[in-house]
Structures are given as C-alpha cells and as structure tokens.
C-alpha cells in the first residue's frame, strides 16, 4: 500500500489520541473513517470536521476497504479486538497502534495476527493527562516524538510507511527503537515520573497545604491527575522495567537524604551541580 490522500484510513477508538490522529490527518487533507464505542464521540468528531465517516458498529465493509488501520485503544482491548475481528481485514492492509508500552503488546499481536496483514507498532509520545475526544487536538503532535518499534517480522516498506504517517501527523522527531529499548526508555521518562507524581500527591494529606502551593509543586504533580484505568494497564505491562527504575530512583534519593541528614553540604552541592548540568541537556528544542 501507499500513504496518500486517497488511502483509506480507519481509526479504531476515538479518544484523545485517536481523535488527535483523526483531526491531524483530516486537517492535512486525508480521508479518515472511525469506529468507536460512543455515539456522542462520533457526533463531536463530525461537528468538528475530524472524520469523513464514523460508526459505533463493527461494519465489515468499512473494515474490508481499509488500507491503513490505526488502533487507538487500551492495550488489552486492542489485543481482544484483533482476536475477534481480524478475519474482516483485507489482505495486505497495514495495522499500526499508539500503545504506550511495546514488548508485551507487539509480540503478542504479531503472533496472533494473520500472515497476510502486517502490524507495525508505533508510540506517539504526546501529552495526554486528559482523556476523551473533546481534548484531542490536531496540533498536539508538533514538537513531540514519534517512535516506531519494529520487530524482525516487519518489512522495510511498513517501517517506511509508518514513519511517513508520523511525518503527516506533524511529529517533530521520528525514531526507530526496538520494543525493549522503547520500554526501558518509557519506564524511566514517563512511567517513573507518573509514579513519583502520584506518590508525592498521596504522601502528605495535611489540610490546607494547597493554600501555599507554588509552581514547582504544581509542575511535579500535574500528572498526578491520571487516567487510572489506562495507566494501571501500562504499568502492569511494563512491570519489570518500571520496578527497576523506581528502585534506582529510590536508591539515588536515599543517597541524597543521607547527605542532608549528615549535613554534608559538599556532597549535596555535588549532586545539585550534576543535576543542573544534566538537566541542561533536556531542554525543549526551540525553533
């Protein structure tokens, strides 16, 4: 298949990310259909000109004509969906996803998938502290990272097409990682940060603290407002990598705690200078 403005694109699941794909692709001149479970979300998408067709039914003809299918579902629902409806796919169609963990999803889906259909996994790393199509935004991918995580089962053609999709969506940076590399990276950069935010929010429940809150506490806890269903699935599916990152963070924090407790100013300042230097590498690129 080719990705051009005549390509029949189907999005399964019209939440904040599926909706963002629909809106960005439509804005770029592509035609997008969607299947999602809630009629209101389809109404919203029509009203905001995000889709050319939407349905809550698993319509066999719609699926049969799709050349590129994007799954924007919770991980467990995604796998169930493939098992239940993959007989409806047309031969040669390409499947991709938006799942935030890879190893535990990618190999499973590729294992159960028909041989005449290819699944090329991808992870759009775009903020999503709010869920629902009404928070989707065609411009949310600008400046963000898009990561394709192929396995040895994937063709160069599919990888190329998946990259092209990332370009059309407007991602600033497109990378290729193995599912395992992806999961280690995401355990640290995304999942650990969410665990920290949740625990920071929960560890002191004194009354009245909100009155004195400044920007730094707000920044560290913004993501403590969390979609519990999605994130608990993501954590579970990347459990080993995540637990290892938590342990390594706690070890580091304990070292710092002991320096404070011992009144070791030199040691504290060394840690702070190291973090200051390393943080400068993580600034958002300006452009």
């Amino acid at each position: 298949m080719k990705l051009n403005k005549d390509t029949k694109i189907l999005i399964i699941g019209l939440g904040v990310i599926g909706g963002g794909y629909a809106a960005a692709l439509t804005k770029a001149g592509y035609k997008v259909s969607c299947i999602t479970k809630d009629e209101d979300d389809i109404k919203y998408a029509y009203a905001h000109e995000m889709i050319s067709y939407g349905t809550t039914l698993v319509e066999p003809e719609l699926i049969a004509e799709a050349e590129l299918i994007v799954f924007a579902l919770y991980p467990t629902i995604f796998i169930d969906w493939i098992e239940k409806y993959q007989h409806l796919f047309t031969k040669g169609c390409l499947i991709t996803d938006v799942t935030g963990v890879k190893s535990s999803v990618v190999y499973k889906v590729q294992e159960i998938l028909r041989d005449d259909v290819e699944f090329i996994p991808a992870h759009p790393m775009a903020g999503r502290e709010r869920s629902g199509v009404e928070f989707s935004d065609p411009d949310v991918f600008k400046g963000a990272n898009y990561i394709v995580t192929p396995t040895e089962k994937n063709s160069r053609e599919a990888i190329r097409l998946c990259r092209q999709l990332g370009e059309v969506l407007g991602f600033a940076k497109i990378s290729i990682l193995s599912p395992e590399e992806h999961d280690r990276m995401i355990a640290f950069l995304s999942q650990l940060t969410h665990c920290i935010a949740v625990s920071l929010m929960n560890c002191n429940t004194s009354e009245g603290l909100e009155k004195y809150t400044g920007d730094s506490f707000r920044d560290l806890t913004r993501i403590a407002k969390i979609n519990d269903r999605m994130w608990s699935e993501l954590f579970l599916m990347n459990k080993d990598a995540l637990v290892a990152e938590i342990d390594s963070f706690v070890t580091e924090l304990h070292e710092f705690r002991d320096l404070i407790d011992a009144g070791n100013v030199k040691g504290m300042r060394e840690k702070m200078r190291a973090s200051t230097a390393r943080r400068s590498m993580f600034e958002k690129p300006t452009k």
Copy 2:
C-alpha cells in the same frame, strides 16, 4: 514607621528576589536604595530603573536613614551581616527578609538584634530557578504567596506593615504562619520537590534519553537546575523537617512499587484515583 511613598526603603542584596522587590516597589512609586556586592548588578538596576540609588559599600548614612530594610541574602550571610553592621541601624527601623527557611534564622536574628529595632520575618514564595538580578521581574509576585512568620517578639504594628509590604509587591495571597508551621510546609511543598527533581535527574545517566523526553519529564525536572549554594543552605537549615518528608514520600512510593510488582491493579487504581482527587485541590486559582 509607616509604609508610604516617602518611606526610605533599603534592600540589601540585589539578586533575583531582591531585584524583584526593587523593581516591584519602584514600579509602584516607592523609592528604593540598595546595597549589593557587585557593581554590575547596580548598573543593571539603574539601567532598568529598578532603584533610585545603589552602592557596593556599606554606607553608614544610607543605613542610618533607612526606615525599612529588606534582607535578600543567603541565610548565613544575612546573620553575619546583622552581627557586623547592626550598630548602623537607626532606632525604630523595621527589618524584614526573604529567607526560604524560618525557624533556624528567625530566632537567631531576633536574639542577636538590638532591642530598639524589630525584625519581622517573611517568605515570598516566588519561583527562582534562575539566580541573578537580570532574572528579576516586578510581576513575579502576582499570583504568588507571601508568608509572614512572626514570633511572640513581634508587634502587631510590624506584622501589619509586613502584610502591607506584601500587598504593595503584588502578592495574590498573604498568610501568617509560625516559623515551625512554615518550615514543615516548605519542607514538603518546596524542598522535597527539589530533592525529587535532583534525584530523578541523577538516577539514570543512560545516553540519548534526552531525545525522547516529553513534557512530563521536563516538568518534573525543571527545578533540577538548581542554585546549589542557596539550596544546600536551605536544606541544611531545615534538615529534620525535610528528612521526615523524604522518608514519608519514599514510604508511599514503596507502597506503590509493591502494588505494581504484585500486579495489584485494584490497589494501583485506588492510589491513582486518590492522587487525581487530591490534585484537583491544588489547581492554580484562575482570575
């Protein structure tokens, strides 16, 4: 004394906070002098119309005529300065400060201070991840908290004047706390967050992670760029409260880790729902 546009205000230390005070007071029509150690900072302040007079010398006449003196120095330097130069204060003048820890500074200063001069402590809770007068901003206090931390040595008149200063500076909210209440609050809301950010930045030094960094990691580590001299002093001066907050955070994070490790989705989701509910109390007031 009264705080009006004829009040002779002297700021000691023209860093990002001292500079912010100078700029905000000048903008509000007050006359501000300053003493600071670096001639370049005075030049900058003149060029940006932040002060009406500035000097690097401890000029006895300037200090003698001051009715309100704001100390915007590192905590240890503040105490040394009082010891060395308090004989220059005029009788009845009011002293305040901007120090981010209170118990270990306030009682010490009030103990050594002359009886005919009053020290009313305050903490302007404004962001300061960058240091230096060139980052000072007269509007940085808008929307921020100003906390007055009187002891039983303070007069109602001084507390009232200190509140008035907070109003003139433009703070959104002015509160009164005891030094001990302030220090417990700051250990959690500000110091713990900085310890977390520094440790998160230091705990994984794998190469290339910056390429995949999203907004949540950047938010959690923004304050990992830290003035090591100032913060190590602040941590040390609030050691017991801070270590207790770190321990309580680590205990909470460990509980969460164990739920992940055990695959306890129900438990994870309960923690996440609790953090989501509590976070909503900490939103920035819109106005």
